[in-house]
């Protein structure tokens, strides 16, 4: 029966897969994982759908309110402000990522700039901090565990039973033994994963956004590739440890410890390191830094006086009527405030970006961390995408304020505060539109994680091959 390399590998694979499949414990675990995966996808899609609808409806209601607010002074309109709601990414059903920990809307108004407000986590019960079952957690936490249970005894088990030497004595090369064991472990896994992936894809397809520009197909495919690569890393790890371990129980203990460290210990520890390397301010320190700087500025009357002095010195063109000094002061103070907020927020986000970089680099010792980062990025629910959205919102704010302030300056009225405008001006402020960047941009921003995951895949393949070639037989 056992002859050439390829057929020997296949025979081993089929034998192992059949044995696994006949094991009642495996079938229970596989069925449970399948149910959890489908439940996670269904729950995720349902929740995502509901949130996406709320945000779209709210954005429409907000636009109607903005247009229908009646006649008022353009600066009063700037104080009236605008709400911008964060568009929900279709793939957040697979990996909600940081969405529950980020604000869902930004209020844009004159003089002030804020972070997005109302993070869903604030309203959730505290137990929510223990984690949520999502397709991403199933893929990155539960599947590796199943892989561990399928691979820990691959070689160590044969050795414990004394069947490893006879097997090799039959003329099976170590290479085909490794191939057979790898395929034999992955086959039963795929029996669970392929149907689950198909059902998941179906759910996502049925729930696809109406916007045809939202190209989620490519992102979804790369996401799947990341999950498969991650499962393969764990397969390689399992086989390598199994080949080197003294006994199958040692192999199991080592692999479980690695799994626990990757899935539970690494994320908080990586973040703790990042915060030691780059400390970030607490809310009170951040707010105080802005207030302190603002406190050194001249007050409103002094500001108007100064503009008046400059006017008398002939700094402005003659078209500017003297009563417009307050508008000039307003526009100038607005610009200064915007610059102040921009600078402080940029400083904060630079720190956050540095923390995220440390976190990403910590993945060098943890393939699961790299896969987790990539998963969030491809789903469009990580901090990078949040920054893109925040930048778009800040941009929209300055467009809105510029439109309103320019109108005020152009009015040329004796007193610009009695100048009232209506719907035609409000319509000049376009509705907020945000386009999510493509998969290529996302991956290029996360090249470190891509490199780390690829390197891990290559390294565990080499390690597994080397371990099998050099393993003891008894």
């Amino acid at each position: 029966m056992i002859g050439g390399g390829r057929s020997a590998a296949l025979t081993i694979a089929v034998k192992d897969a059949t044995e696994t499949w006949r094991d009642g414990r495996f079938r229970w675990a596989a069925a449970l994982l399948f149910v959890l995966l489908v439940a996670a996808v269904a729950g995720g899609v349902q929740y995502q759908h509901q949130i996406a609808r709320q945000h779209a409806d709210a954005q429409q209601a907000e636009r109607d309110a903005w247009l229908g607010k009646g006649d008022m002074n353009p600066h009063a309109a700037a104080h009236y402000g605008a709400f911008v709601f964060k568009p929900v990414q279709p793939l957040s059903a697979i990996d909600p990522g940081l969405d529950p920990f980020l604000g869902v809307f930004v209020f844009l108004e004159a003089h002030k700039q804020q972070l997005a407000r109302h993070r869903p986590i604030e309203d959730a019960a505290p137990t929510r901090r223990l984690g949520l079952l999502t397709p991403a957690t199933a893929a990155l936490v539960l599947i590796p565990l199943l892989v561990v249970s399928l691979t820990f005894s691959s070689f160590a088990g044969e050795r414990d039973h004394g069947t490893l030497r006879p097997l090799l004595a039959l003329g099976v090369s170590r290479g085909s033994l490794l191939a057979g064991k790898a395929i034999g472990a992955l086959l039963p896994l795929f029996v669970v994963l392929i149907p689950a992936a198909i059902i998941g894809a179906l759910f996502i397809y049925l729930n696809r956004p109406a916007d045809p520009e939202a190209a989620i197909g490519r992102r979804a495919l790369v996401l799947l590739a990341v999950y498969v690569a991650h499962a393969m890393v764990w397969t390689g790890l399992g086989l390598a440890v199994s080949a080197r371990a003294r006994s199958q129980s040692t192999s199991l203990v080592v692999l479980l410890a690695l799994w626990f460290a990757n899935a539970f210990v690494m994320p908080p520890v990586a973040m703790a390191i990042a915060k030691v390397v780059t400390p970030s301010p607490s809310a009170i320190e951040f707010a105080a830094a802005i207030d302190d700087e603002k406190a050194t500025w001249p007050d409103w009357d002094r500001r108007v006086e100064r503009v008046m002095e400059r006017f008398l010195e002939g700094e402005f063109e003659s078209t500017m009527a003297p009563a417009n000094v307050e508008v000039v002061a307003l526009i100038e103070s607005e610009a200064e405030e915007t610059a102040l907020f921009d600078r402080h927020f940029a400083g904060l986000f630079d720190r956050y970006a540095a923390q995220a970089r440390t976190y990403e680099r910590a993945a060098i010792v943890s393939p699961t961390l790299a896969a987790r980062t990539l998963s969030m990025t491809l789903a469009g629910t990580d901090d990078l995408h949040d920054r893109r959205f925040a930048a778009a919102a800040a941009n929209y704010r300055s467009t809105m304020l510029a439109t309103l302030n320019n109108e005020l300056a152009k009015s040329g009225r004796l007193n610009s505060f009695d100048y009232v405008r209506g719907r035609d001006l409000w319509e000049q402020v376009p509705p907020f539109d945000y386009d999510v960047p493509g998969a290529a941009w996302a991956l290029s921003e996360r090249w470190v994680s891509v490199m780390v995951l690829t390197t891990w895949l290559a390294a565990v393949s080499v390690a597994a091959a080397w371990s099998v070639l050099s393993m003891r037989l008894e």
Partner: protein, 449 residues
């Protein structure tokens, strides 16, 4: 006899290399996590003291200042002192703010800030003592307890031991006591060393909660051992139980909560608030615009003009605030109901129960932050009552008026209240643990040698 058996088992256990490794890992994790917590606590304390000092300095300033500038523009910060036991559990302190800016205006009282923190840090959780207790402690209980008698039975040594005048029940009890001590001692002692001198009563309750939580897991281990499987099967079954109760269970319950009991939408509430206040906002802005039209430059409105302006502004604020409050309180009622419904599902997992108890003891649960919110809100009403007449009068404050202004002091809710809140959960865990141990011992009577 029992003490002798336990001592004997203790010697055997502590000679085992794997068990030694388990103890070292557990001790190092607890000490490391607690140490990080102490550093974090010290930083929070420094920030708190710096801002408290700033607040008293601000009050001491002798210069004449306009009432609206002092009471509204500058305002005052209501500061929440860091929870002394917060070093053991970060809890919700990375989500809820530890300060609220207080002004005399109606509107500002409705806006509280957020704690800012990298969203990745909030999402990843924290490596604190609570994390080690909730996840690692049960895993290690299983690691030292999966092979209570299986290997001894398979090798036949158990039969030999039982040929001596000892009962199987006593042997099991001895083994359980040794294993319990092995992990309970570091679990209690190490965080205690780092938490000493903070809040003794709550630290005590924390420890009892840790012991009760451990009892549940020891009970589960005993029941599985009593089934009579071999050691490898015991290990797999226990690993599955840990995964189910500590990881998959809470995650699935949380998924169930988001689908079955979704929290009311903040987005919808924001739209509703906008609609409810639209008219008042527009009308108020028009009145203020009219005022500014009558007083072309703000420099020369005079005190009477400023009084009028303050009155208009206060009237507008109050109108908007009243409507906003109606929307907000409807939202809060719904939120509270959903959270209470959702919390019932938590009883299905010991980890979820223990997490709530530990956070409550540490003072980093939502409860303490809500208490702070309420205290700050009542202080805001005092501040407003004191300053609003002065603001409406466009007055310039005297030093005495500033010195007599109300000051904010945070008072912790009575310890007895906090303890009372966690007693049912701790008692529940103890009962379940005791029941599991009882069942385990009973099953062991039918243990096939």
């Amino acid at each position: 006899m029992l003490a002798f058996l336990a001592r004997h088992e203790w010697r055997l256990l502590t000679a085992d290399a794997v068990v030694r490794l388990v103890i070292v890992v557990f001790g190092a994790a607890l000490a490391g996590a607690s140490f990080l917590g102490v550093l974090r606590g010290a930083r929070e304390q420094r920030t708190f003291e710096a801002f408290a000092a700033r607040a008293s300095q601000q009050r001491a300033q002798p210069s004449a200042v306009r009432a609206d500038v002092f009471a509204n523009d500058q305002g005052v910060l209501a500061l929440l002192p860091p929870a002394p036991l917060g070093r053991l559990a970060v809890g919700q302190s990375d989500v809820y703010p530890s300060y609220i800016k207080i002004t005399a205006r109606h509107l500002d009282s409705l806006v509280t800030g957020d704690q800012i923190e990298h969203p990745l840090a909030v999402a990843s959780g924290h490596f604190d003592a609570a994390f080690v207790i909730l996840f690692l402690y049960p895993l290690l209980i299983f690691a030292v307890g999966f092979d209570l008698t299986a290997t001894e039975r398979d090798r036949g040594t158990l039969r030999m031991v039982l040929a001596q005048p000892v009962a199987l029940g006593d042997i099991i009890a001895g083994k359980m006591i040794a294993r319990w001590l092995l992990l309970a001692v570091p679990a209690v002692v190490i965080p205690m060393l780092f938490g000493v001198g903070t809040e003794p009563a709550l630290l005590g309750v924390w420890m009892i909660a840790v012991l009760a939580y451990g009892l549940v897991w020891h009970g589960l281990a005993l029941i599985v051992n009593a089934r009579g499987w071999n050691a490898a099967t015991n290990a797999l079954v226990l690993a599955g139980i840990w995964l189910l109760f500590a990881v998959v269970g809470p995650a699935t319950i949380n998924l169930l909560i988001t689908v079955v009991y979704p929290m009311p939408s903040r987005v919808e509430a924001a739209v509703q608030a906008r609609a409810a206040t639209q008219e008042a906002t527009v009308q108020g802005s028009r009145q203020l615009g009219q005022f500014l039209q009558d007083h072309p430059t703000s420099a020369n409105v005079g005190r009477e003009g400023m009084r009028q302006f303050a009155l208009l502004q206060a009237a507008r604020d109050k109108q908007i605030a009243d409507r906003l409050r109606a929307v907000e309180s409807a939202f809060d009622v719904q939120l509270d109901r959903q959270q209470r419904l959702a919390s019932w599902l938590g009883v299905l997992s010991p980890t979820m129960i223990a997490q709530q108890v530990l956070l409550e003891c540490a003072g980093t649960s939502a409860t303490r932050f809500h208490h702070f919110d309420r205290t700050a809100a009542s202080f805001q009403r005092q501040w407003q009552a004191y300053f609003q007449p002065l603001v409406l009068d466009a007055a310039t404050l005297t030093g005495a008026e500033i010195a007599n202004a109300p000051t904010f002091t945070y008072s912790e809710p009575p310890v007895s209240d906090r303890v009372r809140r966690v007693v049912p959960a701790i008692a529940g865990m103890m009962l379940v643990g005791a029941a599991l141990l009882f069942l385990g011992f009973r099953h062991y009577r039918g243990y096939a040698l």
